[in-house]
Amino acid sequence: MAELFRMTAAEIAAAVRGGGASAAEVTEAHLARIEQVDPQVRAFLHVAADRAREAARAVDQRRAAGEPLGPLAGVPLALKDVFTTKDMPTTCGSAILNGWLPPYDATITRRLREAGVVILGKTNMDEFAMGSSTENSAFGPSHNPWDLSRVPGGSSGGSSAAVAAYEAPLGVGTDTGGSIRQPGAVCGVVGVKPTYGGNSRYGVVAFASSLDTPGPLARTVLDAALLHEVMSGHDPCDATSIDAPVPPVVAAARHADVSGMTIGVVPEFTGEGFQPGVLARFTEAVELLESLGAKVTEVSCPHFTYALPAYYLIAPSEASSNLARFDGMRYGLRVGDDGTRSAEEVMALTRAQGFGAEVKRRIMLGTYALSSGYYDAYYGKAQQVRTLITRDFEAAFDRVDVLVSPTTPTTAFPLGERVDDPMAMYLADLCTIPSDLAGNAALSVPCGLSPDDGLPVGLQIMAPVLADDRMYRVGAAVEAALDTSRGHPLLNDAKGLA
């Protein structure tokens, strides 16, 4: 058997079920790996070793008692620090929530526990999920396992780095503008944004409510699908949760066959501003799909070019309201409460000290966009653009089964390169934002290494609302062909870790 921490989630679950390995052993192997590499990667904000060991023991006891085990029982997982956990702190990467211990579990946290998944700890993220590099974390950035001097993407960069560094076979993130797919792409792992409403937001500390979508990160398409099925499904505690069956994503991930499918290339996302090596790998991936029997056609989505500006009005608007509750009155940081100041002054001091620069920037943007007299021109107009983008998708999906594009315009960029240039940082999400605005499903799968810098490139596959299974089928085909052509999984070439 391979080193336990190098096994996929599917392999671990099978071993635990079959008695080839205990959940306790698997957990110890991953805790040891974290101890070994996390001082360099810094994927975790909090490692819950004892709680993980307890969860693993419980799985082993259930197996010993002859109880049936779920498809991911005993598999370790890295949970983004935006999900509430009643036995671990939840900070959202922010000083304002430093030390907050929620009194309740998020629905997804609870579902993971009930499935016997072993939560190793909470992973780093851009503060309140605002960013594309984890550099906006109040607790310092995480590092890309391919090159420790580069970013792991964001905002779910802690989870993507943990998965890429073999600290956990599975990670959970949230995607608001690309925060799962972009870090997945630049870390060379699979990142999935399911259909909006397919995964519960209850207990996910909100950034932008109409966009936030929890989803899986994994090293294989099948592992992502297994996690997707465990996480998903209707939640009566979330009014925006869709009451419909979960699309058959695991079956689709096992059906790596694109023959007869029609695949649309979005020309708006292949032109200027894209790194040549990224475009080269993207073009190869499209040719590969054609060679596997798919029909490829170009489908223009003219309004996608307006997605980024629309997103930077809608997401900050919602954030400005969602983040209003962090005022030092009830939980988290409180500044200036010395008996001489009014509640309003304490609120202002707390927020001034507790929020980082990017969060403040977006609160100000959103407050402005919602202001009386500006609402129609900014928030209102952005919502109209959102409708046009949704219509672009609907028209495209009338013609093709899935759309494809590069996940990101560039590979992982060096730490520090974009921290003083918000616009450059925002461009990392250029291709991922349309699916967040429209609410449809999208997946990023590695499609090789960029010839110019040797870093991983992601292929984004976009599918219609509640047709998440389609992108798994295409993703599995790309993954299989890539592994075959290289003779081993892409991640074996990650050189960042000794």
């Binding site: 509430t84 929620p102 209850y202 207990g203 009014a239 925006t240 919602e318 309003e344 919602l370």
Partner: protein
């Protein structure tokens, strides 16, 4: 919000008012009311916490109503149903599609620093409520005067928590040593009912405001959607008032008097604002658009937050909730299940009891409608039921400051006493003593009658001596009767009744006196 709360009295506290009659002779008042009603649902609007009043502070709370990070609202179907019920009873259109919106502002008793409310897409719009003014404001035909108040909108929102400012002298945030917040109330469903501007009331503006809130209260009670206790704050009214020069047809600048918590106060607040604003306008100044606070003790209003430095609430559609689209068949089911509304019930009973509209208004104003109806159901005649409740019992309730309905006497007791009078076993005087006994906890009417030995004396031999004594004591009266002035007999009847401590049958006494003194 609190920063301006300590502002001083402004015009009104310091200026001479214009007399009311004078004010309304030269200015047309325009009023409007915004009424908040806490719904009587079992749970809060967006979570499963109990929506009951009171409780130890911060015991009826959960992550949702505390607005903890990550928590999400899920709307209560019952609260939506109650709101639709109110809308239908107020003759509103029910939206086929509407949304909740966030109203953003910072205040410690708001767990999320925004309130989930409705903004430009309310659930119910464009209705009306007919209100009946009191007898004293009789209409042209001499009957009670009706007024149709237009309803602009009815919407659903969540209530806030409650702040308590401790350590200071005023109970206000300024000067307090510290503040405590109780979130038990946070998230209780609140319905806001907004009238259209009520024009053409003239001098009746305060009475219309009073009658509107009273009719609305009765309507809400009959719908079973709220217990409507004004003193516990489950119904709170804000009253907008403005004046314009008589006949100008223009609308003046309005003030909003907040949280007026009794029917009487609603009337007084409008009355005061008319006098105050007339003084401001007479002085050539302009009325400031502002929130004002009503003081129960002095009956005046004082300036609060100015609306001219208006707060920007940055309303936008609540992204945590999906749009609300009540199916038409559901709305029709709710409509079909509406109970009889107070105005229809009053019309039906007025007809059945054979009384005038003014008499009905008196019954309603005394809070005696249910009691009278139940007393009649227990066998009393409508006239008797009204007589005992509105005269004897209303007086006693008034003396002790109690609600009529809270007196320790049941409609069945009153019906039993009325029956004793009807049968001749008691006269009115004895009946009053029986009521006194029941109220004093001496037992049922029968028990009180037995224990106190209340019985009409109609035995001639027992009365004869008393009649003789009365004639002997009042020879001048006796002479008048002998001379044919039969009407003078009343004085002798009264003397006999006093002598028998009211137990005599007065009509028999009269017969005996006349038999003695006249030939007939």
């Amino acid at each position: 919000m609190p920063s301006a709360m300590g502002r001083g009295g402004g015009v009104g506290a310091s200026t001479t008012l214009v007399g009311y009659d004078e004010a309304v002779s030269r200015y047309d008042p325009l009023i409007g009311l915004e009424t908040h009603v806490e719904l009587g649902t079992r749970t809060k609007l967006f979570c499963g916490c109990p929506a009951t009043f009171g409780g130890e502070p911060n015991t009826h709370v959960c992550p949702v109503c505390l607005g903890l990070p990550g928590s999400l609202p899920v709307p209560s179907r019952t609260a939506i149903e109650y709101t639709i019920r109110i809308g239908l009873a107020l003759n509103c259109s029910i939206a086929e599609w509407c949304r909740f919106a966030r109203k953003n502002y910072f205040y410690p008793d708001m767990p999320k620093n925004f309130q989930i409310s409705q903004y430009d897409e309310p659930l119910c719009t464009d209705g009306w409520l007919d209100v009946v003014l009191d007898e004293s404001e009789a209409g042209a035909d001499g009957g009670p005067r009706m007024f149709r108040v237009g309803i602009e909108r009815v919407h659903l929102e969540e209530d806030t928590g409650k702040s308590q400012h401790l350590g200071g002298a005023t109970g206000r945030i300024h000067g307090a040593d510290y503040s405590l917040v109780d979130y038990n109330r946070a998230g209780i469903p609140l319905v806001e009912i907004v009238t259209k501007p009520v024009e053409g009331t003239g001098s009746l503006a305060p009475a219309v405001a009073h009658a509107y809130v009273r009719e609305l209260r009765d309507l809400l009670r009959s719908l079973g959607v709220s217990d409507v206790r004004m003193e516990e704050g489950s119904l709170r009214s804000d009253v907008n008032t403005s004046l314009s020069p008589r006949g100008s047809g223009r609308w003046g600048t309005r003030t909003e008097t907040k949280n007026v918590n009794s029917l009487r106060s609603v009337e007084r607040a409008v009355h005061y604002e008319i006098e105050r604003q007339a003084a401001v306008l007479d002085a050539g100044e302009r009325v400031i658009q502002e929130t004002r606070h009503f003081h129960e003790d002095s009956g005046i209003t004082t300036a609060g937050r100015s609306k001219e430095e208006a707060q920007d609430y940055r309303y936008f559609p609540e992204p945590d909730l999906v749009p609300l689209a009540p199916p038409r068949d559901w709305v029709e089911q709710i409509r079909a299940a509406l109970p009889e509304l107070p105005s229809a019930r009053r019309a039906r009973l007025q007809e059945a009891w054979g009384i005038t509209a003014a008499e009905m208004i008196n019954i309603r104003n005394a809070g005696a409608l249910d009691l009278v109806e139940q007393t009649i159901a227990a066998g009393a005649s409508p006239a008797d039921a009204r007589k005992w409740w509105l005269n004897e019992l209303a007086r006693r309730a008034n003396d002790t400051g109690a609600e009529l309905a809270s007196l320790p006497i049941t409609p069945a007791d009153v019906a039993a006493i009325a029956a004793l009078v009807q049968s001749g076993a008691l006269n009115d005087n004895l009946a009053r003593q029986a009521i006194e006994g029941v109220l004093a906890g001496e037992g049922t009417p029968d028990e009180v009658v037995a224990a106190r030995g209340l019985a009409v004396v109609s035995d001639d031999t027992a009365l004869a001596a008393a009649v003789d004594e009365a004639i002997a004591a009042h020879p001048d009266v006796a002479d008048k009767i002998r001379a044919g002035k039969v009407a003078a007999a009343g004085a002798l009847v009264g003397a006999v009744m006093r002598a028998t401590r009211g137990q005599a049958d007065a009509s028999r006494v009269r017969e005996l006196i006349l038999a003695r003194l006249t030939d007939s």
